[in-house]
């Protein structure tokens, strides 16, 4: 499985946000997207998920089990700033909605197991409205474990998380990479697992560089 991004230019409305961006990613690899606020990190992630059209360039996801007719988004877990949780429903009801929506044929962990991974098993019957910001974030992270989707697109996944939860997120990401997944994350913290490639976006400037390749 391989994701290749070639000369992608991102725009919001008439304004060009970032690009041209080129990189490629294979199974078990992760990419950290860095850059100051407004550099187009979130825009890039949304474009990769297919939630935003790209202005120019190509994004190709190819490999075993990836059919051409299904949109790219169906192989992505997009984890954005909005958690998609309904406050009036319980944690368990929210997660069961995500699991059913994404289909039983891609099912991975059960709701109970996923909640254990984020150390929230005791909250499963609580309404989401009762949870703190960090706990909501962890419930949203548990969603990624319910269905198997090879490409994770994480937008600031560590915000609002305490240290212990960041470590757990690290384990989650390492497991995903170990199972042949790919992760692209907009983050300021180092990503766990294997080689890490960093893509730095500059604000309002048509220049992106791969600046470092480091072993962690």
């Amino acid at each position: 499985m391989n994701l290749s991004v070639t000369d992608v230019i991102l725009a919001r409305g008439e304004r060009q946000v970032a690009g041209p961006i080129s990189f490629s990613l294979s199974e078990g690899e992760s990419l950290a997207v860095r850059g100051p606020n407004g550099a187009g990190k979130s825009t890039l992630l949304r474009a990769l998920a297919g939630l935003l059209p790209v202005e120019a360039g190509r994004i190709d996801l190819a490999g075993k089990g990836i059919s051409d007719d299904a949109p790219r988004g169906e192989h992505c877990h997009y984890f954005g700033h909005l958690d998609g949780l309904k406050s009036a429903l319980s944690v368990e009801e929210n997660l069961s909605f995500f699991k059913q929506l994404y289909g039983t044929d891609s099912a991975l962990l059960s709701i109970e197991e996923a909640l254990q991974e984020v150390a929230l098993a005791h909250t499963s019957s609580l309404p989401v409205a009762y949870l703190s910001a960090g706990m909501r974030k962890r419930v949203a992270l548990a969603r990624l474990l319910l269905n198997r989707r090879p490409l994770w697109l994480l937008d600031e996944p560590t915000s609002a998380l305490d240290t212990a939860s960041q470590v757990r997120l690290g384990t989650m990401m390492r497991n995903h990479l170990g199972a042949g997944g790919m992760i692209i994350a907009a983050t300021h913290l180092p990503l766990p697992g294997g080689t890490e490639t960093v893509l730095t976006l500059e604000p309002a400037q048509v220049d992106t560089r791969m600046i470092e390749e480091a072993w962690l």
Binding site: G80, L82, L101
Partner: protein, 226 residues
């Protein structure tokens, strides 16, 4: 189909939980029906003659009440992003949301209509006529309204704009719904057409909007994606 059931189930749960719109719609319907006799005055014959129309207008407004938030809430909390990335076609997602809204807010109106008819001095057959036409006609109202509801996402606006956009489109449903109901109303039988013609047109309107609504709604949601 598990995705379809998930959306349907979620809409129903949300509508009946605290802050949901199901009970609100019913109470609004009741309020509209109750204030009418005060405005019209103590003329029981007149009330019986315009009763079906009042019930239909009340049901129309109550149906539109929760619709503006239906997709906007999903946009604001991020559920819409998750829907876009699901294997379920957007058309079916809109259909599931619409069905959920109809079951949660439309069905209580239909159940309440026979009781509320008593406030308007309707007799047995007239009550049956209104209830039957509401049962057949409210899906049309929901699925015309749902196009407006998805447009609210694209326009990033809500509230009254939805009603202004949608109300003119519901006029045909209102005309045939009320005229079918009036055909069974002895107080206005002399001025109305036979029952079956407007009733069948009403059925057709519901079936058409059941197909066109989700397709147009999905198109609006795709337009809104950014």
């Amino acid at each position: 189909m598990s995705g379809f059931n998930a959306i349907l189930g979620q809409s129903l749960k949300l509508a009946w939980r605290v802050g949901g719109g199901a009970l609100l719609g019913l109470l609004f319907f009741l309020a509209v029906v109750i204030i009418m006799p005060f405005a019209v005055g103590p003329d029981l014959k007149l009330l019986a003659r315009i009763g079906p129309a009042i019930l239909w207008i009340g049901a129309l407004l109550a149906t539109l009440l929760g619709l503006d938030r239906l997709f906007q809430a999903d946009l604001e909390d991020g559920t819409l992003d998750i829907l876009y990335l699901s294997p379920l076609p957007l058309e079916l997602a809109v259909l599931a949301k619409g069905l959920g809204h109809w079951i949660a807010t439309g069905v209580p109106l239909i159940i309440g209509a026979p009781v509320f008819s008593l406030f308007l001095n309707l007799d047995g057959t007239a009550i049956a006529g209104v209830t039957l036409t509401l049962l057949v006609g409210t899906p049309a109202l929901v699925f015309i309204g749902i196009v407006g509801s998805t447009l609210m996402v694209a326009l990033q606006r809500g509230g009254m704009l939805l009603s202004i956009l949608v109300l003119p489109l519901t006029i045909p449903v209102l005309i045939f719904g009320v005229s079918a109901a009036n055909a069974l109303n002895s107080a206005s039988a002399t001025i109305s057409a036979p029952f079956s013609t407007p009733f069948l047109v009403l059925c057709a309107l519901s079936l058409i909007s059941l197909v066109v609504g989700p397709v147009a709604g999905a198109a609006a949601l795709r337009l809104a994606r950014d």
